[in-house]
């Protein structure tokens, strides 16, 4: 299954287009992630995709030093954040600019740009975060 076949296809299409779009239930306004075609809170099936600014806070993080398979495009070590997107609470994994290897702090504010990762199956869009 490609990423354009799943319920989060609009997320990937938007990200390739340089925008962050996230899904919300039109009926009860609950943010839905992982993406789904129906709201589990109120069972409405009207999901609306909303463009969000690339603003977030650090929910947690790790810095990878071991060369795991399929990380060949990353220079070791690399730092990953689980970023809580502002105004909606959805958490997304992203890369953190960390040239001086300064440990991130939970709650620290982030601003993002959209880049890409080379994988064996082609390029994948990804959010690159930096600390405000």
């Amino acid at each position: 299954m490609s990423r354009f076949d799943g319920p989060d296809a609009p997320y990937w299409e938007a990200l390739e287009d340089g925008r962050l779009m996230l899904p919300r239930c039109s009926a009860c306004q609950t943010w839905i992630w992982p993406a789904a075609h129906r709201c589990g809170a109120c069972h409405a099936d009207d999901v609306q995709w909303v463009e969000m600014p690339l603003e977030a806070t650090v929910f947690t993080w790790t810095r990878t030093w071991h060369r795991f398979g399929l990380t060949e495009d990353f220079e070791l070590p690399f730092t990953t954040v689980l970023a809580e997107i502002a105004h909606c609470g959805i958490r997304l994994l992203g890369n953190l600019e960390d040239p001086d290897r300064v440990d991130p702090e939970i709650g620290q504010r982030l601003t993002g740009t959209i880049g890409s990762t080379r994988t064996p199956d082609g390029e994948l869009p990804v959010i690159n975060w930096s600390r405000v």
């Binding site: 990937w12 992982p34 790790t62 810095r63 994994l93 994988t119």
Partner: protein, 389 residues
């Protein structure tokens, strides 16, 4: 009313074959067949009469393929608990008991086999189960990295002292050093080996991570009545719970905030204690699945042995060892120091411990908690005992 699972089934035999990764003398299925035969011999039960099989963690050995070598007369039940990791290990016993108690099978083997040549690296297989483009795009391609995210939240948000894991690791190696079957047998463990081992994914160093072995393990489960007629004293299952609570699961790291830095096992533990009418204070020894040491800490917290606040008072070396500890954990060495065949060594040690056969006997132990793979989307735990309390 007593819960239907309470003391109604028992483990009658166990078999374990463990080798260094890449060094199994037999192919994977052959090794598994040997482990099943060992378990049957242990019980004094004819392997041909085993009529059910249950596994977990995407084991590749469909039970029907074992029939010719075991001489199986008729296969009546085969099932697997969902999930790519070790989350389903304890749940497998509940599935087996379900078959036995409903009359669908009489003698069920719970098993897991893993030989690198046949199944590849286990960590890679677990990851293949979970991999998606969100993970690929960020280079988060291993269980270690995903568990590291939770560990950092445990330490940096919930304030648990990161040094706490050292006591769990030391206790594991202490037990392993006295277990002739353990990879760490006869070895003195120096905590500096952990502190100086290479960094994998912060906060995890190499020795914070379980490392894989080739091997196979099998446990024969039958009704309590049948077990009482077999060769070894029965080890009864008192309860088993599997599943996930709302807000936990396969959620792209979007678990409820209050559950994020847990093993995902709070609802499992709650149900297990309710259904057995036991409490953490009734548990004499714990076989704790620790894929990573911090996840083991979270599992102990979820199972009610301590809290974020007092974890450092409870998770202490002296308290975790068989010789005098109030909470003896992983008395064979566990996944860290005995060896890691996707956790199947843990229930086998639970049985040995309750029979008095452990290399690290806990004097007077009557009950043993098997805490399954922490942090997996589907998780499970079970309680065993050498008498029906």
């Amino acid at each position: 009313m007593t819960h239907p699972l309470y003391g109604s089934t028992a483990i009658a035999g166990v078999g374990l074959r463990q080798h260094k990764r890449g060094h199994s003398p037999l192919p994977e299925r052959s090794l598994l067949v040997e482990a099943v035969i060992d378990a049957c011999e242990d019980a004094g039960f004819d392997p041909a009469d085993v009529d059910g099989f249950v596994s977990y963690g995407d084991d590749k050995n469909e039970p029907v393929r074992l029939m010719p070598e075991l001489g199986t007369k008729e296969l009546r039940w085969s099932a697997s608990v969902w999930g790519g990791g070790g989350g389903g290990i304890a749940g497998a016993f509940g599935v087996a008991a379900g078959a036995i108690l409903s009359g669908q099978a009489k003698a069920v083997v719970i098993f897991r086999a893993l030989v690198e040549g046949a199944s590849g690296r286990m960590s890679a297989a677990v990851m293949a189960h979970h991999l998606n483009d969100h993970l690929l795009a960020t280079g988060m391609t291993s269980p270690a990295q995903l568990c590291a995210l939770r560990a950092n939240r445990l330490f940096h948000h919930h304030g648990v002292d990161p040094a706490i894991v050292e006591d769990l690791v030391r206790a594991s190696y202490h037990h392993g050093s006295r277990n002739p079957e353990a990879v760490s047998y006869g070895k003195e463990f120096d905590i500096d080996a952990l502190r100086q081992s290479r960094m994998i994914a912060e906060p995890f160093r190499l020795f914070d991570c379980s490392r894989e072995n080739d091997g196979a393990g099998a446990l024969l489960m039958v009704s309590a009545d049948l077990a009482e007629t077999l060769a070894k004293p029965p080890v009864y299952m008192l309860g088993c719970a599997q599943g996930a609570q709302a807000g936990w699961g396969d959620l792209l790291e979007n678990d409820d905030e209050a559950l994020f830095a847990t093993a995902g096992m709070r609802s499992i533990a709650r149900r297990l204690y309710e259904e057995t009418r036991l409490t953490p204070a009734d548990i004499d020894v714990v076989q704790l699945y620790e894929n990573f040491d911090a996840q083991g800490v979270m599992s102990l917290i979820d199972h009610g042995f301590c809290t974020y606040e007092n974890a450092a008072e409870v998770i202490r070396f002296d308290n975790l060892i068989a010789d005098g500890g109030a909470l003896p954990v992983n008395t064979s060495g566990g996944n860290l120091a005995q060896g890691f065949i996707h956790g199947i060594g843990l229930p086998i040690e639970a049985v040995r411990q309750l029979r008095g056969e452990s290399s690290n006997p806990v004097p007077g132990a009557r009950t043993c908690l098997l805490a399954g793979g922490p942090g997996a989307p589907t998780v499970s735990s079970a309680i065993f005992a050498n008498e029906v309390l």
